[in-house]
Subunit: 197 residues, 2 copies
C-alpha cells in the first residue's frame, strides 16, 4: 500500500500483544500523521529503553537502574516479600499501591508440559534475602492456574525450613463479577474461603 518502510512498520507493530494487522495499520497511520511529535519520540523511547533497561539482580524486575526503584527504595517494608510469576504481575500489583514490601519475580511458573522446572525459576536471590533480612511474611501471589498452584506447593516446601509466615492471595469472585457467569472452581473457592461479614 505505501512502500517497504510502511509495510515493515506495520509488520513489527502487528506482532505486539493486543495489536493485529488491522490495528497495526491504524496505529501506523496515526503515527505517520505526526512524524515529529509522535513517531520520533516513540523511536527514541524504544532505543533508550533497549539501551538502558536491565533485569534487577535482586528481585528480577525490569528497570533502568539495578537494583530497581522498588529494591532501592528505603521506605519499603523489608519484612514482607511478595512472590510473583512475571514482571507484568509485579507491575499490575504496583498499580494498586496496596503492597509496600519487596518483590521476587520467579520468571514463570512450574510447567512440566512446557518443560519449565525448578531450576528455571529465579528463587536463589530470595533465599539469600531470607538469610540476610528480617523477613516476617512471604506472600505467594501466583495465578490461580494449574501451573500457578503447582508452583505454590513447590515454593511452600522450599520456604518452610526458613520458619517464616507464608500466605497466598485469596481466590473468589472478581470485582463486578456476577455469580451466574463464574466457573465452578471459582464458586467453590469463593464459598469455602467465605468470611464473616
Amino acid at each position: 500500500m505505501g512502500g517497504p518502510e510502511i509495510e515493515r512498520l506495520i509488520a513489527l507493530l502487528s506482532k505486539l500483544p493486543g495489536l493485529g494487522p488491522r490495528s497495526a495499520r491504524r496505529a501506523t497511520l496515526a503515527l505517520l500523521k505526526q512524524p515529529q511529535s509522535r513517531m520520533l519520540p516513540l523511536a527514541q523511547a524504544l532505543q533508550h529503553a533497549a539501551d538502558h533497561v536491565k533485569i534487577c539482580s535482586e528481585c528480577g524486575n525490569l528497570d533502568s537502574s539495578d537494583p530497581c526503584v522498588i529494591c532501592s527504595n528505603p521506605d519499603r517494608n523489608d519484612e514482607q516479600i511478595c512472590i510473583v510469576e512475571t514482571v507484568g504481575d509485579l507491575w499490575a500489583l504496583e498499580k494498586t499501591s496496596i503492597f509496600k514490601g519487596r518483590y521476587q519475580v520467579l520468571g514463570g511458573s512450574l510447567s512440566p508440559l512446557s518443560g519449565i522446572g525448578p531450576e528455571d525459576l529465579n528463587i536463589t536471590p530470595l533465599l539469600h534475602r531470607l538469610e540476610k533480612l528480617e523477613v516476617k511474611e512471604i506472600i505467594l501471589a501466583l495465578g490461580a492456574t494449574v501451573d500457578g498452584v503447582t508452583t505454590m506447593h513447590w515454593l511452600y516446601d522450599q520456604l518452610l525450613p526458613y520458619g517464616v509466615k507464608i500466605t497466598r492471595v485469596s481466590q473468589g469472585i472478581p470485582m463486578g463479577g456476577s455469580l451466574e457467569v463464574m466457573d465452578e472452581g471459582t464458586l467453590t473457592a469463593a464459598m469455602t474461603t467465605r468470611r464473616s461479614v
Copy 2:
C-alpha cells in the same frame, strides 16, 4: 514501576489507537523481553519511516516515494479514479485487490460541525487529472455517514461539469451480518437497492 524510561515508553504506546494503558504495559513488557530482536528494529523502523514517508503529491497517499507506488505503477488503470476520505480507507480498499485504478485521498469529509469546509479537502490534483487524463469513471467510496453523504453530494456537483461517469459504492448488509441486528437505515438501503438474483 520500572523507572522513567519504561514509564515514558508505556505512555507513548498507550496513545496509539487500539492500545490503552493496560495493553501498552503488556506490549512494553513483550518488547523489553527482546530488546535486540524486537525493540531496536521497531525503533529503527519508526525512525526510518519518520524520515522517509511523505504525502503523495498526486493522490494524497502516504509513501516513501512521491509519486506513491500506486500513482507510479504503469499497470494501473488511468480510466478509473476512486475518491476516498482517508489514507486508511485507501489501504483498506487496496487490501481487497478489487480496484486497479487510481485514487484520490480527500483528507477528510465535509463537516460543518468540525469546521471542515470544501477548501480543506484535497481535490485540486483530481481536477487537474480530470483535464489531463482520459478518466472515464469516478467512484465515490465515502463512508455511509452524514458527513460522507454530504461530501458525496458536494463532489457530485463539482465533478458534473467534466461529463464523466460518477458512481458510488453500494450500501447494504455487511458480509456475515444478520438482518436482525442491522439498523433501519442499513435495512432500508439494502431493500431499496436490491438486485435480481
